[in-house]
């Protein structure tokens, strides 16, 4: 537990200490700093922690909170505000670990496999939406960044989609805990 908290604290500290470097470029801001902050929150939760409360059953409530947080931080105006307002910047460093990272990890642990699959598919779709909008928007989406940066960010999303889908799909070709026909009703044997 101790080392996870230490690493989480180090990550948050690094994100704050290097925030000017990270936030100068939207690619590192959105695709490095924000995910790292979420990760730091997730690190606070020990692996396989399943909340035993009845309200957290299935992980729905927790995941909805996490998704709300992610949706908020996908808004271009939230990114702009974080850069123009100190208050929002502080809220960013607090909310990403605590309101996204923690509930995401906790909710994921008790989520049904179909819910997990659904969230993965939706995540890919939404990353696609971001890539689409940022690469092809005829207007400047973030006031704080240049149009050329915005386009690079869009391609950054595409790269993320590529690696994330690779990460999620590869195991489906060789599932660890599945042996052939282990849960099949029957093979095609004539009766």
């Amino acid at each position: 537990m101790m080392w996870r908290v230490t690493i989480a604290a180090l990550i948050v500290f690094a994100c704050i200490a290097f925030r000017h470097v990270l936030e100068r470029d939207p690619v590192t801001h959105i695709l490095v700093q924000l995910p790292l902050l979420i990760l730091s929150g997730a690190l606070l939760v020990p692996p396989n922690t399943v909340l035993a409360y009845s309200w957290s059953k299935g992980g729905y409530a927790l995941l909805i909170i996490a998704v709300t947080g992610i949706a908020f931080w996908m808004l271009p105006r939230s990114i702009d505000s974080a850069l123009s307002s100190d208050l929002v910047e502080v809220a960013k460093f607090v909310s990403l670990p605590l309101f996204i990272g923690v509930p995401l990890k906790l909710g994921w642990a008790s989520a049904h496999p179909i819910l997990r699959g659904f969230l993965k598919a939706e995540a890919l779709s939404m990353l696609g939406v971001m890539a689409f909008l940022y690469t092809h928007a005829p207007v400047r989406i973030c006031n704080s960044y240049l149009v050329s940066d915005q386009e690079r960010l869009g391609y950054g999303f595409l790269i993320v989609i590529f690696f994330v889908s690779l990460l999620w799909v590869t195991p489906l070709f060789a599932p660890r805990n599945a042996f052939r026909n282990s849960s099949a009703r029957t093979s095609s044997v004539p009766a």
Partner: protein, 479 residues
């Protein structure tokens, strides 16, 4: 014989097919009204015509996919344990989507065609409000979410049971020299392939649907029309193809019952399905052959893959069925006849489709009635015939006689009507009649009216099939 489908799944599928049958007849009636209006048999307000057209397109694609999914679920549940709740969630989300779509069309006045080609939903020229388009797109999203849940359940169970996507696609047999006896059954191979490509299609579809939604809500947030078009046609093409590839599972499973010979996963079969998996996704640029701003390689790929897609269909599926029938002493009844018709119609329809997929022909034939010509063959004489065949098979035990006069009459009317109806489309296409026109020139009236006559036969045939099915269901319930 294979293990039978669990009763709860069978009942859910039977209900689905009844719903689908009713919707099919309604959508066919819409089509008939449009054809009659084009033939000048009565006046129809163009705005209303295009609403009917939108409902007909979205409804037909939806119901084709629904029947395909029902077939898949019915037979896959013989091999793996599927969660029944997922199917009900799928059906519920599907119906919610239908309500939203019908509402957007007949209450909100949306008439932007089922393809929601960007930026038409947002720029209607005053025919409908953005809110109607939003409801339409939300309807699609609801249906998409339903299908996603459906495929996640089917996919994860097959992956777990058969040891991964590759094994479920019979790759060890296709590429590794494994024995056919160790390969998964045809149903599993087909289900795995459709699950993979349609899930990808839905993910891409969700991306473009949400982008369109953002554009409708915040018009300043425009999206790129060419990219949107690519994604829409990728999604649309994959989705409608998936419905046929799911429905053909009924052929693999049911026809053996009539011949006593099992349908086996062979090496060509495995290779064909892997090819289908790739082709279905790579072929969509044949919808963009007139966009000269597209990279030339993509258009060339569209033309070539369009042709190549015919090979697994003709050389493997159609050829295998013909070989299989020879000397099989197959018992003919409504079910077996419609299922064989489904494969035959699908194969026949591939010819005009492939020819339209050539860039030089596309310039002349695309977006004429040639296009509805070929896909109405795919649907009326292909996917929908398979769906009706599946329905007839579901209730065949409840019927006393095997191949009654009314069966033969229905089949004859449907086949004659379908052939004539689709031929008129092809002929009109060759005569340069554009598709999707509410008002036709008088010189096109003759073909329109002949098509209307044949169309009425199709509706009549479908009515007979659905009535027989409903009767069969109720008879079984009484017994």
């Amino acid at each position: 014989m294979l293990m039978s489908t669990p009763r709860n799944h069978a009942n859910a599928v039977k209900l689905t097919m009844l719903l689908a049958g009713v919707v099919l007849i309604l959508m066919m009636a819409f089509g008939l009204v449009m054809r009659a209006a084009q033939g000048g048999l009565f006046e129809l307000d163009p705005a209303f015509f295009y609403r009917l057209m939108t409902a007909h397109g979205a409804g037909m694609v939806g119901v084709a996919a629904l029947t395909g999914a029902a077939v898949l679920w019915y037979f896959v549940s013989r091999y793996v344990d599927l969660i029944e709740g997922v199917y009900w969630a799928f059906l519920g989300l599907f119906l919610l989507g239908v309500v939203l779509i019908l509402g957007s069309i007949f209450v909100g006045g949306y008439g932007g065609a089922w393809t929601f080609l960007f930026p038409l939903p947002a720029i209607s020229g005053g025919a409908w409000e953005a809110s109607a388009a939003v409801a339409f797109i939300l309807g699609y999203i609801s249906i998409g979410v339903g299908f996603l849940l459906f495929y996640l359940e089917v996919g994860r169970k097959i992956v777990a049971a058969y040891g991964g996507i590759g094994r479920a696609l019979a790759w060890p047999l296709a590429f590794g020299g494994a024995q056919p006896d160790d390969a998964p059954p045809p149903t599993i191979v087909a289900a795995m392939a459709t699950t993979v490509f349609n899930t990808i299609g839905i993910v891409v579809g969700a991306t473009v649907l949400v982008s369109s939604l953002v554009n409708l809500l915040v018009p300043g947030f425009a999206v790129d029309a060419l990219l949107a078009k690519n994604m829409i046609y990728f999604f649309g093409h994959v989705f409608i193809n998936a419905s046929i590839y799911m429905a053909v599972i009924a052929v693999y499973e049911i026809v053996p019952e009539y011949t006593g010979k099992p349908w086996k996963t062979t090496r060509p079969f495995a290779l064909a399905w892997t090819a289908i998996l790739l082709f279905v996704m790579a072929v969509y640029p044949h919808h963009l052959l007139q966009d000269t701003v597209m990279p030339a390689w993509a258009l060339v790929m569209g033309q070539i893959v369009s042709y190549l897609s015919g090979i697994p269909l003709l050389v493997v599926t159609a050829f295998a069925l013909c070989v299989y029938l020879r000397g099989s002493n197959i018992r003919w009844d409504l079910a077996s006849a419609l299922l064989v018709l489904g494969v035959a119609g699908w194969s026949v329809g591939s010819a005009p489709a492939i020819i339209d997929g050539m860039i030089s022909v596309n310039k002349l034939m695309h977006n004429t009635q040639w296009v509805p010509g070929h896909f109405h063959i795919y649907l009326i004489l292909g996917e929908v015939a398979m769906a009706f065949g599946f329905m007839a098979w579901l209730v065949k035990d409840a019927r006393a006689s095997e191949f009654t006069g009314i069966d033969r009459l229905g089949l004859g009317i449907y086949l004659l009507g379908g052939t004539g109806f689709t031929l008129m489309f092809l002929i009109s296409g060759a005569l340069s009649v554009p598709r999707r026109w509410a008002v036709h020139a008088e010189e096109w009236f003759l073909q329109d009216r002949i098509a209307t006559g044949f169309g009425a036969l199709v509706v009549l045939g479908a009515l007979i099939f659905v009535a027989l099915y409903a009767k069969g269901l109720s008879a079984r319930r009484e017994s």
